[in-house]
Subunit: 165 residues, 4 copies
């Protein structure tokens, strides 16, 4: 907390006017980032276009967002792997978070229905689609690979190969 206060250029006590607790600060920051990302995805979303097109759109936007906001990515990843984050993950998968993942889930539902996607449980499709991306973001941030537009396209295609029939 001392370090955060210093970087924010305020006194320690000031933080506590805005966040009841360190835990609250951590959780609310996570939620804020998540909302930001969801907003980005929603804003340019192409309702009514074919499943594949929407899928490509989402993967590309997510990667772009994280590439331009690497600290957001680092934070969210660390959060999800901490005791704090487990419950969030749980809520996500159980669909409690409602509107958020509807975009993704909608694509999967539709894709399965139209027999475009493999008939696998949604958590599995989810992992096939996003697992690689998350890994690659880390490599990108650490400087091991450079995710340019061409590579992103290849990766997205590979992920699509994983989930499509």
């Amino acid at each position: 907390m001392a370090e955060i206060a210093e970087m924010a250029g305020v006194a320690i006590g000031t933080i506590y006017r805005y966040f009841e607790t360190k835990n609250v600060l951590i959780t609310e920051l996570y939620q804020e980032l998540e909302n930001k990302i969801m907003k980005v995805l929603h804003d340019g979303y192409l309702l009514g276009t074919p499943v594949q097109k929407r899928f490509f759109y989402i993967i590309r936007e997510l990667l772009r967002y994280f590439i331009t906001h690497p600290t957001h990515f680092r934070y969210m990843e660390q959060y999800c792997n901490s005791p704090y984050g487990l419950s969030v993950h749980r809520d996500r998968l159980l669909g409690k978070l409602g509107t958020h993942n509807n975009i993704l889930m909608g694509i999967f539902d539709e894709g399965i229905e139209q027999q475009i996607l493999k008939e696998l449980p949604k958590p599995v499709l989810c992992s096939l689609a996003f697992g690689p991306m998350i890994h690659l973001m880390r490599d990108h941030i650490l400087g091991f690979i450079i995710l340019d537009e061409v590579l992103i396209k290849h990766i997205t295609e590979a992920c699509w190969d994983a989930i499509k029939r």
Copy 2:
């Protein structure tokens, strides 16, 4: 450290006879687990069999190992997402760890050469192959899905679809 000592049934001070520092303990434990896994993979490894067969073997064995040792999975995942772990990851990708990933890298090299796999950078192939698995292990541990043999087969096939030409 107090908690670890208690669970180990020794005095706190005793830990420090075996591990100079908490950090050392954490890192050495990680390396021990990693070695264990590498040994498992090596032991039953089918040198000389076709690329796909070896790939399936590795994914299956890893999932099996983690399913029977969920605490190992949790620990390694948490470690890799902590400041401790970043350096390990870096070493891994830069090939410093030598022998370990040679199995995997060997498959990828061979697969690319034989034009079986997509011609993508190895970190990308790596993520396509293992990213989904890691995600799904978490879901499995949290009880959201049950990774039985059938599902594992489907998932492995999907991962193969992602990396194969």
Copy 3:
């Protein structure tokens, strides 16, 4: 101070326009309450009536006051048992506060002179007269006994028995 400001419906800073310091606020509030009580006692006071009558009057009025103003009682008691209050108590007993306790002290002086009361030091008479009352007020506030008029009468008589010859 924040809590007080909120309950008073003013901003925190406003308090400091009326009370230089938290300590000042605490002490002045105590004195205000004390003055209020003294005023009540003085107002209906029966100068010139027999010692016993006056004694009964005081005990009764004090109990009535505290029963109708339990928060005043709680506050004064807590104040007297805090480091703040010790000095007040000291002043009281040393007679510095002048007029206030004169009523009580007058009764004791007179009573001793007329050989109605035991010839004990005034602090002792004071304790015999008021000690029980204070204890019982606490029990009343906590709901362990209900101090109705009948019980108050019995208690006052008992206190009188304690100090009378």
Copy 4:
């Protein structure tokens, strides 16, 4: 806590090996003192002697104890007037603390039965008997009166006058 640690001649952290929390420390210290006092009262207790004799014994012993342990008195009084202490007081009166007050309650029960004492609720008798004593202890500690054996005798007699028929 820092001050306590310093006075105890230990490091701050050491306190927490013996008391989980500041609150626990405060409460346990109170209970220890209470037990000590109860032990003193029990030890020399004259079972089977007349009610009055036992009453005198208790008042005398209590005063003696507090006179020789003024800090104990200060601590217990402050504790009882703090939010911590209210619950203790509640338990006491509701008889939950069992054996402790049985000595006192026993005297009151017997005294009422034998028609020696006034037929008042026990909390009232309790206050009449101990209220003055508590007040006087404070005066004694502050140096306003000196409770010598003679004065103690007079006070005890006065308290007896208050509760006896």
